[in-house]
Subunit: 456 residues, 2 copies
């Protein structure tokens, strides 16, 4: 074996993290609080109660406690699919002929196919613990809905998923996975909610949007007794749960004395990236170590690289709290891109503050070179990556090729957040050579910014 | 932790098997040899040379060497996705309220989604080693074609896949995975081979069959210089490569002092089952230990439970060697069943001989109860199983429920050979309640038997 480092580093069960790490606790500049869209005051526990279950609100609002113990039942569930392997990409290194050492943390080896399950089980658990009957949520590409339906099946909770209508129709397989796990899947907009009926009346032929599905899911949570709403990214609670990714990665690297120089993750709402970097960023914030962090985002939806740092709506219906984040405006419509999970107009407030403070970098990537990297990776590493995750692969390959030029033996770590089994229509376009890249014009961005609320 | 047994038992890299085990070496009654369909004499090395590469023929014909060292390059490839986890199904046990202890070996955590990759990399490796340009093969449901395209991409070999036309059209995503890995995928029957043109002339509207695709792939291998043919199951060489499944499983169980009472696998061509049971059957054959072995097959294609033990053709075109096996006749047409990988009319000669000698049992299962088991398993264990593998799940659940009645604390091991990501249309039928079960009538079986060749 080269360097004595195995291809895959697995932690033993007793080495697995038993608490989530709350990155905000070590930040000097805390992320800005969620604001009530009516009063523009910070959202209180009571104001959030109709939407989220109590323990999750506590986690959402707590920016000082560094660790939250993971409940036993969640640890048991994690053990079914975790520890996720940390893989040394020997084959990719060889193919690139780079002196760099490349590692990736693979979060796709569970049925939901992505890291989303880490937070899904936590959110479902606290709902169950509170004695609730069920959960509502929305899903676009379907990874989050799949993860949450698995978690709810495990705990015996009802789940109502509002699935963006065009995905419901074009991704019937995603729908069937959720139904197999017992979820009720409704195409959105639907006539089951007031907001859905209103939208259908105004636009009877609409194929839906994530913003609209969020509004329906929130309404369904608030109006159905015993239900709360769950969201798969952006929120601080989700970032907290996803810290399991980074904690495991760091424990595995420490075990073998490996220190990464560069840490890369794809960024949509930001939970995967924030989870991966959390314990490393902790050391950077505390001056104990230094790392380069790179957020890889799609050039078609460039929140970090071309967005504004401002308060904005999280949903198109404008009923959710305002969040301060790098945003393109809630009315911004990204051009077609197959990384559906990266098409959110905003970004985690936690990551946004870190980026504003110069603690991490960001890079916008077009989808054709991203799929080129995905295919190259798949052919030598044997995993078919999700288009979202492939943004991180592209950035990692670019860094490794840079090392080849300079001769530097850097250690690169990236997050492989999920698999692409349900994205083969996109791969087909790449295979056929009919994939297109389009970045928004300055005018299109200006239109999105024009819709920003006037807060401070 | 209950019993100190972790949820998942992983071997360390240095504990992984470094040689395949050849089950035939320990069999007193050897499997009957392949016969030349013209002369009815055993196929010779030279007769097989136009079809298979040399080292694979040696493996195919050698029924005495107990171990074949795994070449270093294949070991490296295995390390990318192996060891496969051996999972203690704590959650399923709890849900069944059974005193039985259930374990499963999960072979689906690689992009091909199944155990097929274990033999694909071996067959591709020996082709590369012989300096060949490429490989031809057929694929029905697509698992084998996917696995072989991954292996060929890794080694830089050309791959021509003949994909049954109806699958090519109805499973475009499978096709795109193969293309992403660089394979040339042709719908079969095609006009690129003489046999394909002949079939198209006679049946211009045919949607193809596995038998026809095999014939095309063999013709393409024989007529294209530098090409050989590869098959994903049935053959002794494939059973040899798949022994990695059982060897890893046994090493992991031995490590924790676990001895299974019952070992269950689904059986189509038989490679997955034979691979799983190999080292356990070795002990049984040598009188060192006893185990119950159960082959779980579809009631719609019941080779073991209702077939005849006789020489038969492996393909519909009748150009391949004759094999002695439990068979329903090469002309038998199984009724619609969603476990495409189990629809082969025959069975591995090795398993057939073991079954004839009373060393294992078989059980035929209908698909609705199989999908019921699949769904139950998915909801508590978090893995979406392939319909094929779900036959083993059904049999394991039935054994565990039997233990519940008798109070016996048996240890049940089953093979979870793959995932169901590409079988969601089938899950959809189950979810909709429109799945049907149909077993062949005695008259239908008699028709199949009528086509058996008159050998001995």
């Amino acid at each position: 074996m080269k360097d004595q480092i195995p291809y895959k580093i697995y932690l033993e069960e007793h080495e697995m993290p038993t608490a989530w790490y709350n990155l905000r606790a070590d930040m000097k500049n805390k992320p800005a609080p969620l604001l009530n869209p009516g009063t523009l005051n910070p959202m209180t526990f009571e104001e959030l109660q109709p939407v989220f279950c109590d323990e999750l609100i506590r986690q959402e609002l707590d920016d000082t406690s560094p660790y939250f113990p993971i409940p036993e039942k969640i640890l048991s569930f994690y053990k079914m699919y975790r520890p996720a392997p940390l893989v040394r990409a020997y084959c990719l290194e060889e193919q690139l002929q780079t002196p760099a050492k490349i590692y990736y943390k693979f979060e796709g080896s569970n049925t939901s196919g992505s890291h989303k399950l880490n937070s899904a089980i936590a959110q479902a658990y606290y709902a169950k613990q509170q004695g609730l009957k069920g959960i509502t949520t929305e899903t676009g590409a379907g990874q989050w809905g799949t993860a949450l339906s698995m978690a709810c099946a495990y705990l015996g909770l009802d789940l109502k998923v509002f699935m963006v209508k065009c995905s419901y129709e074009q991704k019937p397989f995603r729908r069937e996975v959720m139904r197999t796990y017992g979820a009720q899947v409704t195409p959105s907009p639907s006539d089951t909610t007031a907001v859905g009926r209103k939208i259908l009346e105004a636009h009877p032929d609409t194929t839906g949007s994530l913003g609209c599905a969020i509004s329906e899911a929130v309404e369904a949570a608030v109006t159905n007794p015993g239900y709360r709403y769950a969201l798969g990214s952006v929120l601080a609670q989700v970032v907290l749960h996803q810290s399991i990714i980074g904690l495991e990665t760091k424990a595995a690297m420490d075990k073998y004395g490996i220190k990464p120089d560069i840490i890369i993750g794809c960024a949509g709402g930001g939970s995967n990236l924030a989870g991966l970097i959390a314990p490393f960023m902790r050391e950077k914030l505390r001056g104990e170590a230094d790392y380069r962090f790179i957020a890889a985002e799609p050039a078609s939806c460039p929140s970090f690289t071309r967005g504004k740092y401002a308060y904005d709506f999280c949903d198109t219906g404008k009923i959710c709290p305002l969040a301060k984040m790098y945003t393109l405006g809630s009315g911004f419509l990204p051009s077609a891109n197959h990384a559906g999970g990266l098409r959110f107009h905003g970004m985690s407030s936690t990551l946004s503050q870190l980026y504003a403070d110069g603690l991490m970098e960001a890079r916008a990537l077009e989808q054709t070179p991203v799929f080129e990297a995905a295919q190259r990776f798949a052919r030598v590493e044997g995993i078919l990556p999700a288009p979202e995750s492939s943004h991180a692969i592209r950035a990692a390959i670019d860094e490794a090729l840079h090392c080849k030029e300079t001769g530097e033996e850097k250690t690169i770590l990236f997050g492989l957040s999920g698999t692409g089994y349900f994205d083969l229509a996109a791969y087909g376009k790449y295979n056929d050579g009919t994939m297109t890249d389009r970045v928004p014009t300055d005018e299109e961005l200006a239109q999105g910014f024009a819709g920003l609320p006037n807060v401070r």
